[in-house]
Symmetry: C2
Subunit: 337 residues, 2 copies
């Protein structure tokens, strides 16, 4: 089932789409536990996620990542949808600590830096341009764009705060470390050189996924479903600063777990950005025989790797939430051997 | 004008196509002057070529490469066709010494090795699989595939010789260093572990472009124009060893300079591979006011970076050879500032 908010018929023209996932690591996550990803996996998470999505198995480590409650990566949802619908997919490296062992599009070798010192990156404008050029050269009618950026809700908070949004961001954990995120952002915001310049803001407290996705949106000819929660809401805010008219071809799609998350305010943020449709995939993980999936209903993981957007796309094509769950249940032992 | 040999109407269905260029360096070129590329450029050539094609300017160095007679890179032909027809293009790194400063698809960080010691690579089978997986995930109706691999006619000779073709390969120089190529190949062939296994042959004396392109051909759903001379003829021979039926969706397209090259036997090699159409773009560079283009008529450069295939595609779409030449003449100072 798809929950639709502010629907404008966006999905009716979204009949054929490919998927792109943009990955980055953030150095801050090595020093502060801001990410919901299990700490043993944090260097590997982006690589493992896109390996699972692209290949149906991981190569860098034996298993895909798990969160701190040992729930499986949302990449299992993404992979299920991709296999069920045979969705073509490519993946962009915007600075993952560990490079994935699949063909990937390289935009930046180096990770996002220390946001608590306002040193997220120096090249957000170049990354935007690269994303733009790449988007212009991508074939296909429509695009679903997801991300795997551990720690990315903190950079989302930073960018939204710098742009004066009243934002509470989501988290990949059952316990959202709001206070720690605020502390880090509070430090980082002070280093922004020019708060009226979006690239100055990104350079200080953003992550490298953000300008890349904004560039893709500008360059790609067709419509785009931004697949993610508050991180993609932050990207919407970035896009608005760069070129408001681009928002006309964009919608946001996420999971019910982010939409109904009482610790974040996704709908409010998106409404503050503009008059955009929001879609959310409603799963039936409460019925799952897998503890890890059931925990999603308690707030574990919630979203990532384009899971919500791919599920919305699949459900719009007639796939039932039961089918997605059963596909995951049938394959989980293959994916997590 | 397009010269057509063994035409089967391939181009009539080749109405929409994107371009991909696969780049690799070969360590042997650092020790022996087997490449026609100017020696000051040889480490940079693949990166510069695809930068020019993708961006219309180079970033790694101020200029695109020149050959040993100072003629411009064939990438100028490729870029002209891409701009004239607005062809979408992506580029694959299969081990260039220097990485291009554009978004590129990474398949292998390390260059092709020392073919004179039978140590071209260890992973040709993996590269084939990567190419296959990537090809499956590429959107679009048809594909033109080119290459930039300095020294690649020597690896072509090695692979063709190992497969018992009567091959004389082309060269990017006016003087083709046949004897040196034979000497290097003669050494390398002795190291092949199993001459009945194409991946053994590639691992010894091939280059990394070859298994990648073969994989792309297997994975991509639509028709494919292999854009190149004797190097792409060698790829055809590789494809035949892997799966002969794949040749049904392939044609070869090159330049008149390779087709009429008396020091090589492209048509004979392709005919030995199978019943495939060969196309060649006829230019009018003899009329050019640029010395560097005129030298193409004397045997300089000849082909590369998909120039012949892109020109055939452009001419099939109604672009005149005069238009391609004039576009290059108008832009040469911008490209080579």
């Amino acid at each position: 089932m798809i929950i639709k908010i502010n629907d404008n018929g966006f999905l009716s023209e979204f009949d054929e789409a490919n998927f792109i996932c943009v990955i980055s690591s953030i150095e801050t996550t090595l020093y502060y536990p801001i990410s919901g990803v299990h700490r043993d996996y944090i260097r590997y998470t982006p690589a493992l996620d896109v390996e699972l999505v692209f290949l149906g198995k991981t190569l860098t480590l034996k298993n895909p990542p798990v969160d701190s409650s040992l729930s499986p990566s949302p990449a299992v949802i993404s992979r299920a949808c991709i296999e069920l619908l045979d969705v073509k997919n490519l993946h962009i490296n915007a600075g993952s600590f560990v490079k994935p062992k699949i063909p990937y599009i390289n935009l930046d070798e180096n990770p996002t830096g220390r946001i608590e010192f306002g040193k997220a990156m120096e090249n957000s404008k170049d990354l935007f341009k690269y994303g733009y050029m790449l988007g212009k050269n991508l074939e296909g009618k429509n695009l679903i764009i997801g991300e795997s950026v551990p720690g990315g809700t903190t950079t989302a908070l930073g960018v939204l705060r710098a742009l004066n949004y009243n934002a509470k961001v989501s988290s990949g954990s059952i316990k959202n470390p709001h206070k720690l995120k605020e502390e880090i952002i509070g430090k980082g915001l002070g280093y922004i050189k020019n708060r009226k310049d979006i690239f100055s803001i990104l350079n200080a407290v953003g992550d490298k996924m953000m300008p890349v996705v904004a560039g893709l949106v500008k360059g790609f000819r067709g419509n785009i479903l931004l697949a993610g929660g508050t991180q993609m809401a932050a990207v919407l805010a970035v896009i608005k600063e760069i070129d408001k008219s681009l928002l006309e071809k964009v919608a946001l799609a996420t999971t019910e777990f982010v939409l109904y998350d009482k610790n974040s305010n996704l709908v409010e943020i998106v409404k503050d950005v503009g008059d955009l449709p929001i879609y959310a995939a409603k799963f039936d993980f409460e019925k799952s025989k897998l503890e890890g999936l059931k925990k999603y209903c308690e707030g574990a993981v919630k979203e990532g790797v384009g899971a919500g957007g791919l599920a919305v796309y699949a459900m719009d094509k007639g796939i039932k939430n039961r089918e997605i769950r059963e596909f995951i249940e049938e394959n989980i032992k293959k994916w997590y051997p």
